[in-house]
């Protein structure tokens, strides 16, 4: 699914990384536990999380993933955006819950990591 379409599905807003809006995403993983994210060997997937802090972005950096979707309308701080920009990442926010966000994206064809 093209990122632009994904943003529309979750009624989202792109906070940084707009230049990647026409890239395609195939896989996603939803978790508030960064240790779980760090066990994944694949790269370049979408992380859906409700944990909005700098360590979420750091975890994305270490996991080689560049698409972050913050659910539940969580506040994304300037520090987080700055770190995401340094690493050429995309940050999207959605007002929907983690469950609703995941369900909508799964129905729209995004595949689970496992």
């Amino acid at each position: 699914m093209v990122l632009k379409e994904l943003v529309s599905v979750v009624n989202g807003k792109v906070l940084c990384g707009e230049s990647h809006i026409n890239e395609s995403i195939e896989y996603a993983f939803a978790s508030d536990l960064m240790s779980d994210v760090l066990t994944l060997r694949i790269t370049n997937f979408l992380l859906i999380t409700g944990l909005a802090n700098v360590q979420s972005v750091r975890t994305a950096e270490m996991s080689d993933l560049k698409y972050l979707l913050f659910a539940r309308g969580k506040k994304v701080t300037d520090d987080m955006i700055e770190l995401a920009q340094e690493n050429d990442m995309v940050i999207i926010t959605t007002p929907y819950s983690l469950f609703k966000t995941s369900g909508l994206l799964y129905s729209a064809g995004i595949q689970p990591v496992y």
């Binding site: 240790s35 760090l38 066990t39 802090n53 360590q55 979420s56 750091r58």
Partner: protein
């Protein structure tokens, strides 16, 4: 090449800075991205452990022709039972650490999974040393 970094315990705003720096160096050296991810995931988990549990620590990364050795030495409370600490799900992390998305007792097992060689030694009341080696191929 030897790189040395200091890590301050309790300062979550800085957690990940060392891992980020090492990642940049490995990318510049043209190391395989799959290997880089294994190195930085193991290092990041270990770095977060120092921030979460210790007072301070020193990270030494030594790169040779075949791989990278990372030694993390911290001054802190130490680990009473390494056997218990290596069990997935066991954690003594604080509420603050858990709020950061860690402290689920998965860090040490994940470091071991990513490393080709991994040893951990600790002395209660003194500190903990992690020795991680990962081959480039």
């Amino acid at each position: 090449m030897v790189l040395e970094y200091k890590v301050e315990g309790g300062d979550f705003t800085q957690a990940g800075n060392v891992s980020s720096s090492v990642k940049k160096v490995l990318k510049q050296l043209g190391i395989n991205p799959v290997v880089i991810k294994r190195v930085v995931v193991a290092l990041y988990e270990a770095e977060v452990n120092i921030v979460a549990h210790a007072y301070r620590g020193v990270v030494t990364a030594t790169l040779d022709d075949e791989g990278i050795r990372i030694v993390l030495d911290d001054e802190g409370p130490g680990i009473a039972s390494i056997e218990q600490a290596m069990v997935k799900g066991y954690s003594t992390a604080s509420k603050e650490v858990r709020e950061m998305g860690f402290g689920a007792g998965m860090g040490l097992p994940n470091i071991k999974d990513n490393a080709d060689e991994f040893t951990i030694t600790s002395k209660v009341g003194v500190g903990t040393r992690l020795d991680i080696y990962i081959h480039y191929v």
